[in-house]
């Protein structure tokens, strides 16, 4: 019999006893956490990969590093290897991202650049609210690697400048990320931090972030909603 495809988010499997229901991982997260795919196992030899990118800081608790092989003619990422320092969500989301990019022979660079954290989360069957921020670094690491490729190959016009302005140099959270967090329902700084991790290791940017939260809340939800 054909295996049923999972359409509904899978049932929580790993439940943390401290925070109860809001803190549960799906089966997909569990699988990618315990059996990570496309992990870089050996130190890469010179020239083995075409591009490399890294985001995060060990002090903040998340570091993601990716290595890419790129087919210049087809303008396609053909291989994606990674290493991640972080929690289960962070490891699982990088693993899932690597699958998304490299499955079916690879992914066009432009499509890879367009991957959002939500896309990764959807494939993972969702993440607990508190863990959403853990998935937001993977796509940034990928973009950093692709930018690295653009620089190497002289395609300076294609280099993506993250959002409008990078607010936090460690997590590379941008204004656009704040806008997105607000659109998705975050209204306060802690809520936005849960999603983006902005300013946790770099509190100087917080006044600006708060200003942006107010601005976007008014923009999308009217002046009386802030």
């Amino acid at each position: 019999m054909k295996k049923k495809t999972r359409k509904m988010p899978s049932r929580p499997d790993v439940v943390n006893r401290f925070a109860g229901g809001s803190w549960a991982y799906s089966k997909a997260v569990r699988d990618h956490f315990f059996q990570p795919k496309n992990l870089l196992l050996q130190k890469p030899g010179r020239g083995k990969f075409d591009a490399e990118g890294i985001v995060g800081s060990p002090a903040c608790g998340d570091v993601m590093r990716v290595w890419l092989k790129i087919d210049a003619k087809k303008d396609k990422v053909t291989d994606f290897k990674w290493r991640t320092f972080g929690c289960a969500s962070a490891i699982a989301s990088t693993s899932m991202l690597s699958v998304m990019v490299s499955e079916r022979g690879g992914m066009k660079i432009d499509r890879a650049l367009a991957i959002r954290p939500q896309d990764i989360m959807k494939r993972l069957g969702g993440l607990p609210d508190r863990k959403i921020h853990c998935s937001v670094l993977g796509d940034k690491a990928l973009r950093a690697a692709i930018n690295n490729w653009f620089k190497k190959t002289g395609q300076y016009d294609r280099i993506i400048i993250e959002g409008t302005q990078v607010l936090d140099p460690n997590t590379k959270v941008t204004e656009a990320d704040i806008e997105e967090a607000v659109v998705e329902g975050a209204r306060t700084l802690p809520e936005v931090q849960k999603r983006t991790k902005v300013g946790i290791g770099y509190p100087e940017c917080l006044p600006k972030v708060e200003e942006l939260i107010r601005f976007y809340t008014e923009k999308y939800f009217g002046p009386n909603s802030a």
């Binding site: 002090a59 903040c60 608790g61 998340d62 929690c87 931090q193 849960k194 290791g201 100087e204």
Partner: protein, 462 residues
């Protein structure tokens, strides 16, 4: 799917001792009386409570009437801090009814449980001055700073007996002496004479000294006179008792106002029908702990040391968090570099090993453990911290199982991790102060600036 459990999180909670359950059972079923009632069913419940208070008083070396049962250690902490501040504020009320809250100050250590720190923060909002005493590099509260912070406005000092993350033993008896010395020096310090203020109050000694001994009670001898404490917090479920029951020891004569009002149970200090089965279980658990802790401490310490030595031997780049010797015999808190605590926790969980971590990912606030950062550990270390806390049912087989399973997990997670931090470079890493209050720039930025300065290049950004 049945699988064997290897429980190493006794600082979070302990399983109920079967002997405790046996003692409780009648009070969950046929002995259901309300201890406030006069008929025999009620009187028997009352007697059960008194017997439990006797058991606890016996362990603490105090009078049974000095034990107030609460719903948790957190409630006992709330009662200690809020109740003392309330009582003294009331005593210092001006004749016109207006309080002078600016004069009230409390002192706590910075590694207290949230049950203390959150209450202190709430009191601070009400105008109470809160002084947080830092810990020294070895994790012990800085006694000189504590002594220097004492003044006639100080109404309460609260220092934990052993914190819940590293189990470091604080010098409670010494602090008790310092507090007493201060009180004796200034016999009647509760009220400073004010002109034209007809305060007609009996003198009482200040500051009041409180310790949260929830973690320590299972393994330490807690004689309240030897410790010199006026208030002491206990929790049943940390020593093989049931959840939902704690207690506050209140030295006779200590000014304390209730924070819960109602029918006036427990000398009006804590209204509400007593949790009879919980109290009975608590008494039994405390009596067992007092009877067995000598033997149990030695046994658990041996197992803990075996675990500690084994991990240090088989896994490279591991650091001990907390004092090497002055710590509870069942605590082992280590940082395994290059990997994140929550990932480690979940891998261990998959094998039936239950531990805890101080990693940011494991907390509601997404901030790494404030206790470990207060000890001067860099964030990089704290994220990789795991805490093993052993208990009565921990066996050598449990320890050996961990020693067998942990190294391959660490190896795998290190393979996943892009980091390769080196030991002995703690100073070069981010120090906690680099994050506090947003005044100092983030460490990465600082490091970059230093590098640029070294290179002699300008810091102009293009």
């Amino acid at each position: 799917m049945p699988r064997s459990i290897h429980y190493f999180d006794h600082a979070a909670t302990t399983p109920l001792d079967p002997r405790v359950l046996r003692a409780m059972q009648p009070y969950l079923t046929r002995e259901f009386g309300n201890p406030s009632n006069l008929y025999s069913l009620g009187r028997r419940a009352k007697r059960a409570i008194m017997a439990a208070a006797d058991q606890i008083a016996g362990a603490l070396g105090c009078k049974p009437g000095e034990i107030i049962f609460t719903g948790s250690a957190t409630e006992a902490d709330n009662m200690a801090l809020q109740g003392a501040v309330k009582a003294i504020r009331k005593m210092r009320m001006r004749p016109d009814g207006s309080a002078d809250p600016g004069r009230i100050k409390i002192i706590v250590s910075e590694i207290e449980h949230k049950g203390i720190l959150a209450v202190a923060a709430a009191l601070e909002k009400e105008g109470v001055e809160v002084v947080k005493i830092p810990v020294k590099k070895d994790g012990l509260v800085d006694l000189k700073k504590l002594e220097a912070a004492l003044d006639d406005r100080t109404v309460l000092v609260s220092v934990t007996s052993a914190d819940s993350e590293t189990g470091i033993l604080q010098p409670v008896a010494e602090i008790g002496k310092i507090v007493r010395k201060f009180r004796d020096k200034d016999k009647v310090t509760g009220i400073k004479e004010e002109k034209n203020s007809p305060l007609s109050l009996s003198p009482y000694p200040c500051p009041i000294f409180h310790t949260d001994a929830s973690q320590a009670a299972a393994f330490l001898d807690l004689n309240v006179d030897e410790l010199g404490v006026d208030l002491l917090t206990l929790s049943a479920h940390k020593l093989g008792g049931p959840k939902g029951i704690g207690a506050l020891y209140v030295r006779q004569g200590t000014p304390l106002e209730p924070i819960i009002y109602g029918g006036g149970q427990q000398a009006k200090l804590r209204s509400g029908t007593e949790n009879v089965p919980g109290i009975v279980g608590f008494g039994e658990a405390m009596a067992i702990a007092a009877r067995e802790r000598g033997r149990e401490s030695a046994r658990v310490r041996k197992l803990r040391d075996r675990l500690e030595r084994g991990i240090m031997k088989s896994i490279p780049k591991v650091v001990l968090n907390g004092h090497p010797t002055k710590r509870l015999p069942n605590f082992l808190n280590i940082s395994i570099l290059d990997i994140e605590g929550e990932a480690m926790l979940l891998y261990l969980d998959d094998l039936g090993i239950y531990v805890n971590t101080g990693s940011a990912c494991n907390s509601e606030s997404l901030e790494p453990s404030y206790v470990l950062t207060a000890l001067g550990e860099p964030y990089e270390y704290v994220h990789g911290s795991i805490r093993f806390t052993l208990g009565h049912e921990t066996t050598a087989a449990d320890v050996d199982y961990v020693l067998q399973q942990l190294p391959p997990i660490v190896k795998k997670l290190r393979q996943i991790s892009p980091l390769n931090l080196s030991l002995g470079q703690k100073e070069k890493m981010s120090q906690p102060k680099a994050f506090i209050g947003g005044q100092t720039p983030h460490f990465l930025r600082k490091r970059k600036e230093n590098e640029e300065r070294r290179k002699g290049t300008g810091t102009n950004h293009s």
